[in-house]
């Protein structure tokens, strides 16, 4: 059964915990007191999806490629002023409803990637929890609000080839 406990092993363990006690007292703990100080998430953090409504043409690609079926889009066609002066009025999709249900979303980012018109962006915002789960269905305006929190894309490491 246990060989007679050699002393050094046990005391080394005690030394370690005392060392950590000293470190915490001397140069502060590693924890952040959340409500008072906040840790900034990295630029690429996938916190919430922001919608740039101008770019969206209701092509439904994101809704079709979402694995969790949590994007609901409705729109209608209408006439838009011609681009060039004398041109014919263009037929364009107008977005009526663009909801993302964050209760279902698994933050995989396929919709942001697949969107051909760059209407969806990632923003590292993470404080949008709701007491009621129904409020997690963010509508068009809410997604618009997230737009300002979208950061600039970080420059890439040396040796990366610009895509």
């Amino acid at each position: 059964m246990p060989d007679k406990p050699k002393v050094p092993g046990l005391f080394k363990g005690l030394g370690v915990t005392l060392g950590i006690l000293k470190d915490t007292v001397v140069d502060g703990a590693n924890t952040v007191q959340y409500p008072h100080e906040k840790e900034a998430p990295p630029i690429r953090a996938r916190g919430v999806i922001a919608l740039h409504e101008g770019n969206c043409t209701a092509c439904m690609l994101c809704a079709r490629s979402c694995p969790d079926w949590c994007i609901y889009i409705e729109g209608h066609k209408q006439l838009a002023p011609p681009r060039r002066a004398g041109g014919k009025p263009r037929q364009v999709n107008h977005l009526d409803r663009f909801d993302i249900d964050y209760a279902l979303c698994m933050y995989c980012g396929i919709c942001v990637e697949v969107c051909p018109f760059d209407a969806l962006f990632w923003s590292p915002e993470y404080e949008y929890s709701e007491p009621k789960i129904a409020d997690l269905l963010h509508d068009k305006e809410k997604l618009g609000e997230w737009m300002e929190t979208v950061p600039e894309a970080p420059e890439l490491e040396a040796g990366a080839q610009k895509k």
């Binding site: 439904m60 079709r64 994007i71 409705e74 729109g75 209408q78 037929q91 999709n93 107008h94």
Partner: protein
């Protein structure tokens, strides 16, 4: 990857086969041990080796391979080659779907039946793995169990049994591994519906309401009425 070998050519000897001939050696060694039970082999050079054996030689193959040095048991599982009649559930119900193809085409080393059982063994010294397949006929819907040869196969066969319904003769206790004991149906069969995608209407259906026709008397309001499904 040469095309799927649909004709069951048993002993095609490709001329100068690239790769180190290790896998050819294994196949010949196995042929020596279990004779003509080896129905079809497929070698992708330096990469992987598939062998299809007769159903009644399933346990015998295991013993032969274990003797040949394949001591590491990787897994045992089942394959259902029937294309799923339900599709991916991401179809637009209004658009008429073309008839789902029900033609059963087996995978790499061919086969006759809809269900197949397949396993993988690895020889840790020669760093080579082999995938063994066998057809599962319909009337004795079972194969011999490997649990006597490889103790690890016990759990894998229980899982395959509850997922596909394939019986394993000689298995100590074929209870359900994951599903509740009174669960009817075999989930991994292709004709077992995935309920989650049946109940909820697919939000990906293009819901852009067309232009209001020019000659319509009352122009529809620009915003268009609320679409039906939430």
């Amino acid at each position: 990857m040469d095309p799927l070998s649909d004709a069951t050519d048993t002993d095609e000897q490709p001329a100068a086969l690239p790769g180190d001939g290790l896998r050819e050696g294994i196949v010949d060694d196995l042929r020596r041990r279990i004779g003509d039970a080896v129905l079809d082999t497929h070698i992708s050079p330096n990469d992987d080796l598939w062998i299809r054996v007769r159903t009644d030689a399933w346990r015998q193959t295991a013993e032969a391979l274990k003797a040949a040095g394949f001591t590491f048991f990787c897994f045992v599982s089942g394959l259902d080659w029937l294309p799923s009649p339900y599709g991916t559930g991401e179809q637009d119900p209004t658009v008429e779907r073309e008839a789902p193809d029900t033609e059963i085409r087996q995978g790499v080393t061919g086969g006759e039946t809809r269900f197949q059982v397949f396993a993988r063994l690895v020889d840790l010294d020669r760093h080579v793995g082999v995938t063994i397949k066998a057809d599962v006929p319909d009337e004795p819907f079972a194969v011999d169990s490997w649990s006597a040869v490889f103790a690890g196969a016990n759990w894998h066969e229980r899982e395959t049994h509850e997922m596909f319904g394939i019986g394993f003769n000689g298995h100590p206790d074929l209870r359900n591994m994951y599903l509740p004991t009174d669960f009817e149906g075999y989930p991994l069969r292709k004709d077992f519906p995935l309920l989650a995608r049946m109940i909820k209407p697919w939000p990906g259906i293009v819901d852009v309401e067309p232009m209001p026709a020019q000659d319509e008397a009352a122009p529809q309001p620009a915003t268009g009425e609320e679409a039906s499904d939430a």
